[in-house]
Structure formats: structure tokens, C-alpha cells
Subunit: 189 residues, 2 copies
Amino acid sequence: MKDELEKCFEFILEIEKLKAIERRTKPLGLDRYENSAEHSWQAALLALVLAKFGDEALNIEKVIKMLLVHDIGEIDADDVFFFDDAGRLDAKEKELAAMKRIFGILPEEKAAELFGLWNEFENGDSREAKFARAIDRVMPVLQNLYNNKQSWTENGVTKEQILTKTAYIGDGSAILWETIAAKIENAFE
Amino acid sequence: MKDELEKCFEFILEIEKLKAIERRTKPLGLDRYENSAEHSWQAALLALVLAKFGDEALNIEKVIKMLLVHDIGEIDADDVFFFDDAGRLDAKEKELAAMKRIFGILPEEKAAELFGLWNEFENGDSREAKFARAIDRVMPVLQNLYNNKQSWTENGVTKEQILTKTAYIGDGSAILWETIAAKIENAFE
């Protein structure tokens, strides 16, 4: 038992590093970029808050757990901007290796549980994964919509790119995507 | 439905402010203080990872939800150092008012759900609240133990204060407290 505890402690201190991984979005009212640890917290909470807008049979607790672990691989692979297709393809392998290394610190059973959550999120097939992926994407869209399109403007992202590449939000929640898409249209008028 | 969505969006953007609330602990390897949003993420994950060390009948999903919301009141009340008794007493009322204001942004049903989670955590009576409170306390203790007692040293906290004031970790998990208490003893040798 004590040995297992030590492994858990080592893991939780290893993932301190996610607090140093910078994203492209600035939190409203702050003149700095947010990090992936803060983002993971906010995404998990957004899932909890928007649960009823997902599929009726949704296991929201599983969605929350997915969102808590979904970015941990960035500790080795770094955050790649959502609209950087080449960079994201390249990062996929690095993230897989990172997840194996970092979850591998944990006791075997727990490592398998967290790796399973991440893997399901990455594959994106289950209803929980679809909703989690939608939420993960909605969060920075909301931040942009209410913060003068900050990261879109800084990175020269067009309305068409956003509408095309974030349309999978609709796979997680039709009404959510409908509402968000209308807001994106408005923001570029 | 659209009106409810708008309320959820307003809430999730309001809680951006938790990313600006500074704690006394520095993340390992970073020369800055951590904020309460990052901390909430890490505490939720620590609960998930340590679930088996809690009470057998523990609803770990509820613990995770509690930890996601537990610090939101700091947006209005600010973070008060754990060892500042007078400050913490004073903050209690401010936090209650903050929770009412901030959760009050949400649709009624969701506001009640999140307020209930926070209230249960604050009261500390249920097995989930006891485990959540233990985890919330274990996290900065681990950070101190593995980071040269950084926040304890900066704030002149003694071994006796730590051992006395964090002993309630044992209400959430006896083996966790036993292990942590031994580590605290060692750190001050």
C-alpha cells in the first residue's frame, strides 16, 4: 500500500509540469496566456455545467475524468495550436509516448484506468469522448468570443477555418454547436 | 434552452477569475506562485488517483466534483493562507456570499447542484467531504515536502503547526495521514 502511495505522489508531482505549458488563449482580463492545467480545470467544470445538453445517456463523470487527463501528454509534447494541422499530426505520437511514460509512474491498475480514459478521448468514438471533445473545443471559442477574438486575431485564423474545424462540436451536442456557430458568425460581422 | 446555455457561458467566463487568485505554494520547478484554478485541477486528479485509499463506499465522482468547485468563492474572498486562523474565519462569510453570487449566474437547477457540492465540502461531514478535504490539504503538503518546504519556510510555519492542523487528513484516509505525517517528521529532522 505504501509503495502504491509513493507512486501516486510521484505522479501528482510530475504533472505539476502541466502548469508550465502555455496555450494561445489569454484568460479574460489577464495579460498572460493560460496554461493547460487551468484549462483542464475549466473544461471539466464546463462539462459538468453543460451536462444536460449532451446525449441523454451520457456518463458525465466519465467526461469529467477524461477532461482532467486529456492534456497531460503536453508535458512532453507541448501544446500545439489547434489550427496547426501539421504540428498536430506530429504531436500525436509524442503525446502517446508521453502518456505511456507519465501514467506509467502510477500503480498498474490506476495507470490502465487513466490511459483508457485518455485513449477513449483521443479516439473520439464514444458518446462521452464526443462530448468531452466538444467541451474542450467550446471553451477557447467562448474565450475568443468574449475577449475580442484574441487568439484568433493573434494567429490570423479566419471565420471559415473556425466554422469548419470546430463543427465537430455538433457531434457532442447539436444545440451547443448551433448556438456557438451563430455566435461565431456574429463575431465576424 | 438557449437562455440556459447563455447563463452557463456567463458562469464559465466569470470563473476565469480564479486563474488570477494566487496561493502560497509554488509549483515544483516554477518561480511563481500557483493559482487556485490550477490547484483545483490537480486536487481533483489527486482524488481520482488516490480513490482506493479512501472509505470503501466512497463516491469518488462526487469528491472530484467537490474539488472542482471548492475554491470558486475565492474569486470574491481571495485565498487565505491555511495557517491564518483569523483570516480564515473572516473569509468564511465572504465565501458564502461569493458562492451565492457566482453559482447564482447558472440556471436554477445547476446552481443548486453546485452549491450543494460546495456546502457539503464546507460542512465536512460526509465521507466524500472528508476525503475531499483530506486531498485538498495533502496536495500543498506534498508540494512542500518535495520543494524544500517552500511555503512553510516563507511563512514561518512550524512542524507542530503542520502536524496539528493537517491531522484531519486522517478523517479522510488513515493510511494517507500515517504516511504523510511520517514524511513531515522526516522533513524537519
